[in-house]
Symmetry: C2
Amino acid sequence: KKACFFSTLFSPILPTICEHDIKKLIHSFKVGFALFLVSLLYILDPLFEQVGENAMWAIMTIEVIFDFFGGATLSKGLLRGIGTLLGGGLGCLASTLASDLGKIEYTIVVGTLIFVFGAMATYCRLIPSINKRYDYGVTIFILTFNLVAASSLHGDHQVMELAHHRLSAVAMGFSVCIFISLLVFPMWATDELHQLTSSKFKQLASCIEECMEAFLVVGEKESRPIIHVSSCNSVLHSNSSDESLVNFARWEPTHGRFWFCNPWEKHQQITELLMEFASNILSLQGCLKSALQPSSMLLEVIKEPCKNVGLLLGLTMRELGENIMNKKRSNLEVVIMPELQSIKLELILLSTSKLGAIENVED
Amino acid sequence: KKACFFSTLFSPILPTICEHDIKKLIHSFKVGFALFLVSLLYILDPLFEQVGENAMWAIMTIEVIFDFFGGATLSKGLLRGIGTLLGGGLGCLASTLASDLGKIEYTIVVGTLIFVFGAMATYCRLIPSINKRYDYGVTIFILTFNLVAASSLHGDHQVMELAHHRLSAVAMGFSVCIFISLLVFPMWATDELHQLTSSKFKQLASCIEECMEAFLVVGEKESRPIIHVSSCNSVLHSNSSDESLVNFARWEPTHGRFWFCNPWEKHQQITELLMEFASNILSLQGCLKSALQPSSMLLEVIKEPCKNVGLLLGLTMRELGENIMNKKRSNLEVVIMPELQSIKLELILLSTSKLGAIENVED
């Protein structure tokens, strides 16, 4: 709705722009505005006197955390917070435990700890399950631990004060980020995932319809219509972008259209089934290119059921896509499923009778 | 070779570890060591007196830049360098141009510039082609521009000195990174891509062989052998990880086994063909699950050519995989291609004679 409002606002100036571009523009303005807000910490003298050079950390926080989707911003912010606290705490602990030692021993102990923790955390980052979800948090953890453990050698008191100032600057950046990201024209990964799944159904529906049409025309030896397989390919290759969307959606609060829970696990299952379907359509399309085509005789027999299958499958996919979009339970099970079953039976009967015919000829 | 040396070194302690895990371990030790080295800037007093608090930037650089593959480390380092220089230069320019203005005008101009550049750069980051390759550089550009433009309000001289110190700390971190990443047990994305492509051929070879075996057994109505389709799926889904490997390989110097140029574009073409092949195998496997199977009569006729096709395809894929691994030109074109062509012809003839038989029955 908000994107619509924006699009009508911009439409006189930018007539060819599409909805997704408008979302990108909104995001860019949001980031620009957030950067402007935290830069005020530097620019306005009264604020600068309070915060000082640490304002840098607020700017850095915005730049690093602010992401396109609300869930991504939230997850990065929280991971950064958790990583900083854990790393800082462990760093303080290490320096406190080692503080009784002499200068040389202290240096050796802290150096060894930095090496060991650095290597361990880096190994953790390479484990796929951690890498996918918590990579950023682990990075911040090593960084903070390293900084705190190493700098504690030079005057504890000053370091604590510095850490306090920096943390408050980071907190300022974080709150500006969250406020602008989640409250001003928020973009949710959940919604994007929802739309994407629904649109995949529609894309595959037109694909299967085009394939069936082409099959029947090829049989009739007319000019071959073009099949748009690009949508099949995009469904097949969408795996990793979908995965990151699901990852972000996990962090998003239940909002707007999804009251109880985010159905992201269902989305993944559906995506896998759709990929299987897309790969089937692709090999169907490969069959159309083959030199081996059914004779006009055979085509006459299978034409009607094939056409019906194509139409029904297209209809079903479109209906399912729309029902997912509108979050309605469909009654396809009752209406279309029996019909599809009966056509399947018909095709099997036709084929077996053909095979029987062959065997009779062979005998 | 180096990984082998390591694996023999570790094998008594960690017998079940595989080669990839050893690479991960080596990488972790390298990062730990690099962190330890730059932490010495903090820990050792003579060094700390020289560098001061700016040692932080060296640690941060290591943490952010050091990546698993040499190409990734290089690209991040160079992008960071270019982004910093561009952002810093533009920031200085902006503050110089605005320095003649009064305090209020200056504040307005710098604030507007920060907003505009922030929004523009963020929009650039969302363009897919820039996002894939230069995302990190653009991030650093906005960050540096923002910091320089905003902080130039408070004492130009001090800022320049600060920037100088920070840049030298970053340069120290960068050189430690590059030295350890590229010279000590380097890991190249080019090699990984090469091995991956070769192994995909082998995986698909066993897949097609298993499928053919299962097809013939199913026909004979014995117990169905298990087909490992997981490798087909992994080939189908490897798209995005391959893409990032190609991205890293672009930045890698020609080294070791690749003297003239990195053949990454060829890799992408091969990957796409392999994906098509994998999707065909998957639908072949779908046919095996179907209720509709050839009669024992028909199977007897097509058994021999089908078996041959399976064997030859498997052999070809294996051979191609090995030739890619060893960078040899294969003579498959001469040996196997004519044989495959003749079997294809045989199968087409068989099928058309069947179709003819059907039509005769129909008449």
